[in-house]
Symmetry: C2
Subunit: 284 residues, 2 copies
Amino acid sequence: MQTYLDCLACFMSQIVRVGQLLELPERDCLNMLCEFSADLAEIELADPPPKTSIRLYQMISRYVGSPDPFAAIKRESTEKALALYPRLQKRVAAAPDPLSLAAKFAVAGNVIDFGVASQFDLAQELDRVLDHGAFGHWQEELFRAALEKAEWLLYLGDNTGETVMDRLFIETIVRETATPVKYVVREAPIINDATFADALAAGLDACATIISSGCSAPGTVLELCSPEFLELFHQAPLIISKGQGNYETLSGVSAPLFFFLKAKCRVVADHLGVELGDLNLVRG
Amino acid sequence: MQTYLDCLACFMSQIVRVGQLLELPERDCLNMLCEFSADLAEIELADPPPKTSIRLYQMISRYVGSPDPFAAIKRESTEKALALYPRLQKRVAAAPDPLSLAAKFAVAGNVIDFGVASQFDLAQELDRVLDHGAFGHWQEELFRAALEKAEWLLYLGDNTGETVMDRLFIETIVRETATPVKYVVREAPIINDATFADALAAGLDACATIISSGCSAPGTVLELCSPEFLELFHQAPLIISKGQGNYETLSGVSAPLFFFLKAKCRVVADHLGVELGDLNLVRG
């Protein structure tokens, strides 16, 4: 997906919102706005937004003086999600169709995203799934057919905390279909995206092999991924791609992709052809 | 009210949204974003946002190649509002408290605003008033007490189309209290703000004297107003100030002000201490 003009305006909003969330002084936020906008003309609109946002979040890290400004926020997200986990696990086990419910919880978990908003309610979003919340595309039958045939699957993670719902979904996949899963994390910290350590904290090592994409964008920019990851990506018989960042970077790529994401901005909702806020399961 | 960092990000969104609304080529919108952001460091945060947005809308006018890029949109807004007028007039005449209902319609009309959004539903907003829609501050008793004592009143207009609801409110004021009204418009076209011609098209000359503030900002920046207007402003026993732009420029000013506005952005809602979208009548 290309970078739209709305994305450029959104980058400016992100600087302000994230600066305030990380309690940076107003002067620093203003300087970041000026610094980022000074190079606005150099942004390649053909690039997907997550590629451009590498520069944005590296700048924020520099101002905060930390390679992982969201470390505390990520810890808290994992703790909150783990506190919900036993209840969700029981609900999935008792459901008439555990795989379907676990998939829905996994997408609802995608509400966690400090790049898009500073506030959200994970528990409420999970409850809404049970009340037949707003779904856009939901091609579950296509996904199940692909899952039945796949010898293994590549699962591209997204946000920290959402990782716990990913774990529940993967555990359900493994229990129902015995399909081995490789869970993919970002190479280095960016926003609240899950790294190796964040995936470990969510307990994903118990049900999947955790690997890095080699890419530090908040998405999967193939040209920035490691050769080892690219080999797996091109061999994978089935790929689950979580979240907007992975959708923005992989939506035009030819691969056996299924996108699981909440449409959290107007640009992505329009690109998907759904309403803002809808939960989606859609074949690539 | 000062300019907040969120306002700077909002200026960038406005460039994109207004550029798209006016069907400017994407390249022009990108150039406008670059041009505006190049001078970001020079923006005085102590200034109210409407003062800064003069530069923004002058730039848009230059790119469009017209001193009044919103002329067609404004004509359409007036026509749509005039089509609703007979029905609203009947409702006000039949209401147990005509002044109160006319005041509410006047604030509901403030939903029209192409600076904040490209889409809104005027008829729906007016209907919501009848269904006891969301009100924040609503100091109607204070306003009525002030109105009873005032020998005349200054009414600071805002958006074109909203002018028709202003007319209905002023007609009701004149019928109930015989208070003469001076209706204030912008000196020159900016966004969809009402100028002399726009007020005339709404029929305001039949119930009020139409005057210009001398200021071409989408608000009332006193230091940019004409001496003639300032004299009236300082003499006025009562001032009705419509909309966010007038609120942003006059909220700290010592004068017998009553602000009538819908809180259309987070920054103004927080400044007022109300929810986003609330309708307000609040003493200055």
